[in-house]
């Protein structure tokens, strides 16, 4: 079934509202201020996003206090957040954790946690990757230990988004029934949270050390397939954010090329710069198509959603990285200064590419799915 990929007037209104909000709450000065804090975001803004705009619960069903919207709305939201380089636990909490709960958790936990998330009262982190460097489901090796009704976790989880500031940690670990989801109190004994100095200052990550840390099992049965879908849903949303970042780079580079004069004329009148911009436009438009395809496929629950998510991650990661790199180049010397914000996008681009397995890995995954 071909998807009709176009946004409605309502979507464009959402975009306009959000852009106005982000112009206010995620201007460059605010980004720089927040990225230099340990937490990495402004909790007041987070509350505001949840309470006034219903963003924290955007894709959470209404029964759990969410807005009950779908992935097309999320596409718009993520694109705008990426464009504004928003410092926020949105990806960790409203996307990854919300999806993990919606697809893997039992109803009790869904009710309890999704409601808190939607209300903006809870930042949630999902701990899945481990020091082995793998991002595939089989790479999850931590095994939970049971004694009586009690479960404990031991081992290490890496690259946990907002793991340092989260009020709840959702941990993927293996049990006899397969891959399972656990809920861990961040203050639990045996859990040590270590902030990792990040390449991308605008998104905080932690390493979590578990040593017989008590955990609550909140899933039933093997969650491998479900969690694979959760990861794909997360990368689909992330791809929209990356596309928004690429769009910012394109616009910023073009604007600079129009106004920066060298040898008596705008540098954008030189083909070297003009053609770079044209190529960025092509790649950004292609990234947009990919992000749209993945998010519309998610919204419509298309059969080829997993394939489209791989496509989107690969296309958007490369497009964002190239766009950021070229935007540095087009800005000349100033492009690699701390003073200009371009470097922040460059770092975000590379970190986003690496975050759930890079573009090449997603191409391999795509090849597997398509049967090449």
């Amino acid at each position: 079934m071909p998807i009709e990929m176009s946004l409605t007037d309502e979507h464009e209104e959402l975009r306009a509202t959000l852009r106005a909000f982000l112009n206010e709450c995620s201007d460059e000065a605010t980004v720089r201020e927040q990225m230099s804090t340990e937490r990495g975001y402004d909790p007041d803004v987070w509350t505001q996003m949840a309470e006034q705009m219903g963003l924290a619960g955007l894709i959470i069903p209404e029964e759990f206090g969410g807005a009950g919207y779908g992935y097309v709305e999320l596409l718009v939201v993520m694109e705008e957040m990426g464009r504004a380089l928003l410092c926020s636990p949105y990806l960790s909490t409203a996307v990854l954790a919300a999806n993990a709960l919606m697809h893997c958790a039992d109803e009790k936990s869904q009710k309890e946690l999704l409601t808190e998330i939607a209300a903006g009262r809870m930042v949630a982190a999902v701990a899945h990757a481990e020091p082995n460097g793998r991002w595939d489901i089989e790479g999850l090796e931590m095994t939970a230990t049971r004694s009586g009704d009690q479960w404990t976790l031991s081992g290490e989880k890496t690259w946990v988004l907002d793991g340092g500031s989260a009020q709840v940690i959702l941990v993927l670990a293996r049990t006899d029934s397969g891959l399972s989801l656990f809920r861990v109190d961040p203050e639990a004994p045996g859990l040590r949270r270590e902030a990792v100095p990040p390449l991308d200052l605008t998104r905080k990550i932690s390493q979590l050390h578990f040593e017989d840390a008590p955990a609550e099992l909140i899933s039933a049965g093997d969650q491998s397939a479900n969690f694979e879908r959760v990861l794909a849903l997360t990368t689909a949303a992330l791809s929209a954010e990356q596309m928004g970042g690429a769009q910012w780079c394109l616009e910023t580079a073009v604007e600079y090329a129009k106004t920066r004069l060298q040898f008596g004329r705008p540098i954008g009148s030189y083909q070297a710069i003009k053609h770079k911009c044209a190529d960025m436009l092509v790649e950004t438009e292609f990234a947009r198509s990919a992000a749209y395809a993945a998010c519309f496929a998610a919204a419509e629950q298309e059969d080829d959603f997993l394939e489209m998510a791989d496509l989107a991650q690969s296309a958007c990661s490369e497009a964002f990285f190239h766009a950021a790199a070229e935007t540095i180049q087009i800005h000349g010397g100033m492009g690699f200064t701390w003073e200009l914000p371009v470097h922040l996008y460059f770092k975000r681009a590379k970190a986003s590419d690496l975050l759930f397995g890079d573009a090449a890995q997603h191409r391999e995954s795509l090849a597997n799915r398509v049967g090449l």
Binding site: E4, S6, K258, P266, H275, A278, A315, V370
Partner: protein
């Protein structure tokens, strides 16, 4: 063009059925059927009545096609040689032609009786079409034309040519051009095939030696040829910027995947296989992105917000095609050292009959993709300037007499 008069779908379908009663495709040859189709106003329904149309919306042409399909296994679609005449010739005649031209020319364009070709490009004027230097000099009621045209598809089959030529070398280059209907059988018109890298001649060179054209065959005003030509060029660019397959993994992608799946096992090391597979996946992705972008373009168009997606496709597709067929060749490896199709110089190619054969042919043919219909360099200028609004370069060829502009 006049406002489409309302006609409901059912009425139109009824008219088609009436045509089919008079002439049925299964029992009528293509030319005769299409003559009838024209008479019934069902050739191009968005044209005015009396000129093969009914003054309807262009979308309703699909209904004619659909209704014919319902009642006939045979469909007399556009003859390949008539694509230019129908796509570019007919609109130009309709807009700029005299009443007599419309009455005599349009039916034969549609029926396929008369093939048309387009005579714009010249050896010295490639990207810079308006810089062309063929010259028409007025002689009483006639013009005498000398010069050379190139890249002329179907010129060797053509009855009429759409000729853009200079009539005033003292005017700035865009202002000194006029547009003529050229009788391709006129004395002094010589057509020669132009063979390409594949050995085929898809195109011709056309030499014009003291060719006489009646003044009455000028379309538009003297010196306004560029304006007339622009419409034609727009249609051409749309025609070339295809936008890839409409079906996932279809079209050229499918052919690449076939080459990949039929590769010789063991010819590549595991590492080489991994890298080739990644290249195949990239091509698969590229074509998906083209397809999705075209889909998005249609959606935006429908929503009334046309974006830059369309202009992006032509540039992207050229580079994607070249890369894709290079990958196919590298998959075949040394087997690609053989070119079974051979290079016999010929006017039309027989389609290669194996996927490998197609890939080898396309490997060569695709080099033209980034040149024909606007080079990738020109397309990047267009994207940069018209879509992104970047400033142009200093120009030294505008607002001066054409004869004073340096040229090779």
């Amino acid at each position: 063009m006049p406002e489409p008069t309302p006609m409901d779908e059912e009425t139109l379908r009824a008219r088609v059925r009436k045509l089919l009663e008079e002439a049925h495709p299964e029992t009528t040859d293509s030319i005769s059927f299409r003559q009838k189709q024209y008479e019934h106003g069902l050739a191009w329904v968005h044209f005015p009545e009396g000129y093969g149309g009914l003054g309807l919306s262009p979308k309703m042409n699909m209904i004619v096609f659909d209704e014919i399909s319902k009642h006939s296994k045979v469909i007399h679609t556009t003859p390949p040689a008539s694509v230019i005449g129908i796509g570019m010739g007919a609109p130009v005649v309709l807009t700029y032609g005299t009443e007599e031209m419309k009455k005599t020319l349009l039916p034969k364009i549609f029926s396929g009786e008369e093939v048309w070709c387009q005579l714009f490009s010249e050896p010295g004027a490639g990207s810079d079409v308006a810089g062309l230097s063929s010259l028409a000099i007025r002689d009483g009621d006639e013009w005498i034309v000398n010069g050379q045209k190139v890249w002329t598809t179907v010129a060797h089959l053509s009855r009429w040519g759409m000729l853009l030529t200079r009539t005033d070398p003292d005017a700035p280059k865009h202002d000194g051009l006029s547009y003529f209907l050229l009788d391709m059988k006129a004395p002094g018109v010589e057509v020669r095939p132009l063979y390409q890298i594949t050995g085929e001649a898809e195109f011709n060179e056309v030499f014009l030696n003291d060719v006489r054209i009646p003044h009455a065959r000028m379309l538009g005003q003297e010196g306004q040829g560029w304006r007339v030509a622009i419409t034609t060029l727009m249609n051409e660019r749309v025609a070339i910027g295809g936008g890839g397959s409409k079906r996932k993994g279809g079209g050229a992608t499918g052919q690449l995947l076939d080459v990949w799946r039929q590769r010789k096992k063991g010819a590549h090391s595991p590492a080489q296989e991994a890298m080739l597979r990644d290249r195949v996946t990239r091509s698969y992705m590229d074509n998906e992105l083209l397809r999705l972008t075209a889909q998005r373009a249609r959606a935006s168009q429908k929503a009334g917000n046309p974006g830059p997606e369309g202009s992006v496709a032509k540039l992207a597709q050229a580079e994607i095609n070249k890369r894709m067929w290079e990958t196919a060749i590298d998959i075949m490896g040394s087997d690609a050292l053989a070119f079974e199709a051979g290079y016999a110089l010929r006017q039309t190619a027989g389609a290669p009959d194996s996927v490998e054969g197609i890939a080898k042919y396309q490997f060569l043919r695709s080099r033209a993709n980034s040149i024909e219909g606007g080079t990738s360099e020109i397309m990047r200028n267009i994207l940069g300037e018209r879509v992104l609004g970047l400033p142009g370069e200093p120009r030294i060829d505008k607002e001066v007499p054409w004869k004073d502009v340096p040229r090779s």
